[in-house]
């Protein structure tokens, strides 16, 4: 595993695992903050066309190690990802 650097000022880190990492060819990257949680999947789909249906629709999301509910697109009433946050895309797990 590579060390995840602190995100630059005005950014948050998003971590990719398993299929999300394969699709993005990255383990992590910094995105501009703040970002309403409801816009996260849209922002990722814009960067990686097809990611939503292939990956994100079956994933959970954590912010700072806590699972969060991702509001539907266009609903900005939910939580907002802040500068310095650690967001992770969690594909269906396969331990064992």
């Amino acid at each position: 595993m590579n060390t995840v650097p602190k995100p630059p000022s005005g950014h948050f880190n998003v971590l990719y695992f398993a299929s999300a990492s394969s699709l993005t060819s990255k383990q992590h990257e910094a995105l501009p903050a703040p970002l309403p949680l409801g816009q996260l999947f849209g922002a990722l789909e814009e960067r990686y066309p097809g990611m939503k249906s292939k990956i994100l629709d079956s994933c959970l999301v954590t912010v700072n190690l806590e699972y969060v509910d991702v509001p539907p697109p266009g609903d900005d009433s939910g939580a907002v990802i802040k500068e310095g946050d650690e967001v992770a895309i969690i594909p269906p797990v396969s331990s064992g």
């Binding site: 595993m1 590579n2 060390t3 995840v4 602190k6 971590l15 695992f17 398993a18 299929s19 990492s21 394969s22 292939k54 990956i55 079956s58 959970l60 954590t62 700072n64 190690l65 806590e66 699972y67 969060v68 650690e86 992770a88 969690i90 594909p91 269906p92 797990v93 396969s94 331990s95 064992g96």
Partner: protein, 196 residues
């Protein structure tokens, strides 16, 4: 899917290792451990030791120790697996493993529970997961052992990549009905249901 968000902070027991973010555990190969009363959690790139797991739960009050060892299989859906690799969101996986173990400890009055998962490349036929429990009697020990394993497989943030001898590979998914994502062509999908 049960998640750690269901656990109120006030119920979080004191642990030897407090892990706040991925950067706390990056840059090393581990091993990483978390402990709570009668509970031991381990993530490691090294081979797993069944003796370690049994010793972690051993108690003079126990009448039964149950050990489950999950090993890496050489076949999936008729295709021969050349190699297996596990990756993890280590700080979150440790937390989830701890909450799984504590749930079983409290539900079955366990005298000890240990959960260990191996990461990185695991040769075919070697242990990838160990579950050990200690209880006063065998009934609760058997039941708790199975419960912990199923809970681990459903929830712990560890992912398995199987590379096939005939090319390509797949990120597996344990969840019923979930698909494994192929990375060779992006089109094919393998069912992801599997046993340990």
């Amino acid at each position: 899917m049960a998640t750690t968000q269901d656990e109120p902070e006030t119920q979080t027991p004191p642990t030897q290792t407090e892990i706040e973010s991925r950067s706390d555990v990056e840059g090393g190969e581990g091993p990483w451990t978390l402990t709570a009363p009668q509970t031991t959690i381990l993530l490691t790139h090294a081979p797993l030791s069944s003796t370690w797991a049994l010793d972690a739960v051993r108690s003079p009050e126990a009448g039964a120790l149950v050990l489950f060892a999950g090993t890496t299989r050489a076949h999936f859906a008729g295709r021969r697996v050349r190699s297996l690799r596990y990756e993890s969101y280590v700080p979150l996986a440790l937390r989830t493993m701890l909450s799984v173990a504590e749930r079983a400890r409290d539900a079955h009055d366990l005298l000890g529970v240990a959960v260990a998962h191996r990461l990185g490349d695991v040769p075919v036929g070697e242990e990838s997961v160990l579950i050990a429990v200690a209880a006063a009697h065998r009934g609760p020990a058997w039941r708790a052992g199975e419960e912990v394993l199923e809970d681990v497989k459903a929830n712990v943030e560890v992912w398995k990549f199987e590379e096939f001898e005939d090319g390509g590979g797949v990120w597996r998914a344990n969840r019923d009905g979930a698909v494994g994502v192929r990375v060779d062509d992006g089109e094919g999908k393998d069912g992801g249901v599997e046993g340990a």
